[in-house]
């Protein structure tokens, strides 16, 4: 087990290094480079030369990369051009909110996806199975933002029972947990509905396949109860790969969160990124690409390790 963990960690290192390179190079895509971006309309040849020198941008690019990497390790992600805060402060403020949204959605989505998938696999061909397949297909093809808009128009404007966006009530003196939870309902529901669709399709297929395996027939022949067969034999084997699937869905979830945060005006990483893109605030953009990339690699690593731990057949060597 320890060997597996070590091996996976070592394999992730080159990817992590390449992500830092990508994020380092991104800002150099900007025509004129970071200096022109920073100075904007104030740029004169003399100022550009001064700033280029003082920022160390006249050094060879590899040297610049190593210096930048050294600063990263010390937690210096740079300073925002437009907001008076360091990139790390801003990310530290917004990242927990996005993680709260995404992780809550992943958990709830799983409960539903597994329940629906298992029900369908054990009731194949019934009208409920067909109806659920149709519904899931529809949800799977649904644009995230449209679903969000519909939920807002129904629950916030028509019925007026849930807030339409933000994370606190505008009139509250202090942020309250109750208000936060109320504000989470619609964005989480949107994310759950779109992710549940793909995952429940997956559970239905793998459960249906597991139910006709020899080991399930053996268990039934031994006289194991229907529930025992489902839970102890079929379920365990069918659901293991779901762990990997969740790891692979992380980029999709983060992408989805940009759109959802936009629809619900939810102040997380997506909204921070969107605002920064509009203001051409490159250090923030660079920092977020880096953090999200690293989180995704770590998430996949965790999924891999959990998979190896949960399935003793996997040994990777």
């Amino acid at each position: 087990m320890l060997r597996l963990v070590l091996r996976r960690v070592v394999e992730a290192i080159p990817t992590l290094i390449l992500i830092t390179m990508l994020s380092f190079l991104l800002i150099r895509l900007v025509p004129g480079g970071p200096v022109t971006a920073m100075l904007g309309d104030l740029a004169t040849p003399q100022l550009i030369a001064q700033l280029t020198h003082s920022l160390g941008l006249d050094k060879p690019i590899m040297v610049q990369y190593v210096i930048w990497l050294g600063q990263l390790i010390h937690g210096n992600f740079g300073y925002s051009y437009t907001v008076h805060a360091s990139v790390l402060q801003l990310i530290g403020q917004n990242l927990p909110r996005t993680l709260l949204l995404v992780i809550t959605a992943i958990i709830i989505s799983h409960v539903f996806a597994i329940a629906i998938g298992i029900y369908q696999a054990t009731h194949r061909g019934s009208w409920v199975d067909h109806a659920l397949t149709g519904l899931v297909y529809f949800l799977y093809s649904m644009p995230t933002f449209w679903l969000g808009i519909i939920l807002v128009s129904i629950f916030a404007y028509k019925m007026g029972i849930l807030p339409s966006g933000g994370i606190t009530n505008p009139n509250d003196l202090h942020p309250s947990l109750a208000a936060l939870l109320a504000h989470l309902v619609l964005p989480v529901a949107t994310l759950v509905l779109v992710t549940m669709a793909g995952w429940s399709r997956y559970v239905r297929t793998s459960m249906s396949e597991a139910l006709v395996q020899d080991y399930v027939r053996t268990a039934e022949a031994k006289g194991v109860s229907r529930q025992g067969v489902l839970v102890r034999h079929a379920f365990k084997n069918a659901l293991l790969p779901l762990i990997t699937l969740v790891g692979l869905s992380l980029p999709f979830l983060f992408s989805g969160s940009i759109i959802i945060e936009q629809v619900f005006n939810y102040p997380g990483m997506g909204l921070l990124f969107w605002d920064a893109a509009g203001a051409r605030d490159y250090p923030i953009l660079q920092g977020i690409v880096l953090i999200i990339g690293v989180l995704t690699v770590l998430g996949n690593l965790l999924a891999d390790i959990m998979y190896g731990w949960a399935d003793p057949r996997i040994r990777y060597d």
Binding site: L18, P143, T144, F145, K158, I258, I259
Partner: protein, 302 residues
């Protein structure tokens, strides 16, 4: 005595592409899913491209006094915030959404197939490096990269196509590579190599035609994803510049009028998007069944 042993018997024949796919065609023609998808998509295309010929209302004509009107006999789907006709804008917006979606998917497939072929057939070192690059791209959510690049350059339809192709090609590349890795161990490929065929020739003559099933299926799902991505980007305000309408931007504009329950702005573009995506996915599923493939979609976002 039996037949003389000639070279023909020693070199196994590669499966002929036509023969291999004849069966798939037969399955496809009998598949209700394929028919539903093809007919549905044809209707969507006809609506967007032929509709304006039948429904002759100017999609750009502003009428401030008649703004935000619910559906009436003159404006079948009502009017938007400046009094423009929603139905005719839906048709015009659909044209852009479909064109960009299809073009982006085609570009993504072309890049992905070329990359996958080289990676799968180019040897171990090349493969490792090329797959590592894909690992990195897979770790950074596509929408973040798109937003970044979009903040740097001026938006246009051409840029949008390039951007979407850039985030959508790597799932294709991975699938093609996996297929090539298994194909290159086949006897007919080894035979062709032993006979002295150049690598490029083996790749184009044997590997490419036999991955066609995978390519067609991923291309189909790719179109659905690209249409969603175009809409998502336009929704974020980063797609195509106004006044040219498109479905994503129409939905984004509708948000401001939610408190007034302007449902005719919210539902038509969304329904048009869902119908497009569902019919394309129908075709993808039917094709997947016909080619007997097990592929999972890697979704890019939106």
């Amino acid at each position: 005595m039996g037949q003389p042993l000639t070279a023909e018997y020693l070199v196994p024949e590669a499966p002929k592409a036509e023969g291999r796919y004849a069966r798939s065609w037969a399955i496809l023609r009998r598949s209700p899913l394929a028919w539903a998808g093809a007919v549905g998509l044809a209707l969507v295309v006809a609506f967007c491209f032929l509709g304006p010929a039948l429904y002759r209302v100017d999609p750009m004509k502003v009428d401030i006094l008649g703004s935000l009107n619910p559906p009436t006999a003159t404006h079948i789907l009502g009017t938007d915030e400046v009094g423009r006709d929603v139905l005719s804008r839906l048709m015009l917006g659909g044209q852009v959404s479909l064109e960009v979606g299809f073009a982006a998917a085609a570009a993504a497939i072309a890049i992905g197939v070329a990359y996958g072929l080289v990676s799968g057939y180019g040897g171990r070192t090349v493969d490792t490096v090329m797959m590592r690059i894909i690992d990195v791209l897979r770790s950074v959510p596509g929408l973040f990269l798109l937003l970044f690049v979009d903040s740097v350059f001026k938006p246009s339809a051409g840029l949008l196509i390039i951007l979407i192709a850039f985030v959508a090609w790597h799932p294709v590349a991975r699938l093609v590579r996996a297929e090539v890795l298994s194909l290159r161990e086949r006897t007919y490929v080894e035979a062709s190599e032993a006979a002295g065929a150049a690598k490029a020739r083996v790749a184009l003559e044997h590997l490419l035609p036999n991955t066609m099933g995978t390519i067609i299926v991923t291309a189909t799902f790719g179109v659905a994803d690209a249409v969603l991505l175009v809409a998502g980007l336009s929704f974020l305000g980063l797609g195509l510049p106004p006044p040219q309408p498109n479905w994503g931007a129409m939905l984004s504009d509708s948000m401001a009028y939610l408190p007034r329950n302007a449902w005719w702005l919210v539902y038509p573009p969304g329904i048009a998007l869902v119908i497009t995506v569902v019919t394309v996915n129908f075709m993808g599923d039917a094709l997947r069944e016909a080619f007997d493939l097990r592929l999972r979609q890697d979704r890019t976002g939106a």
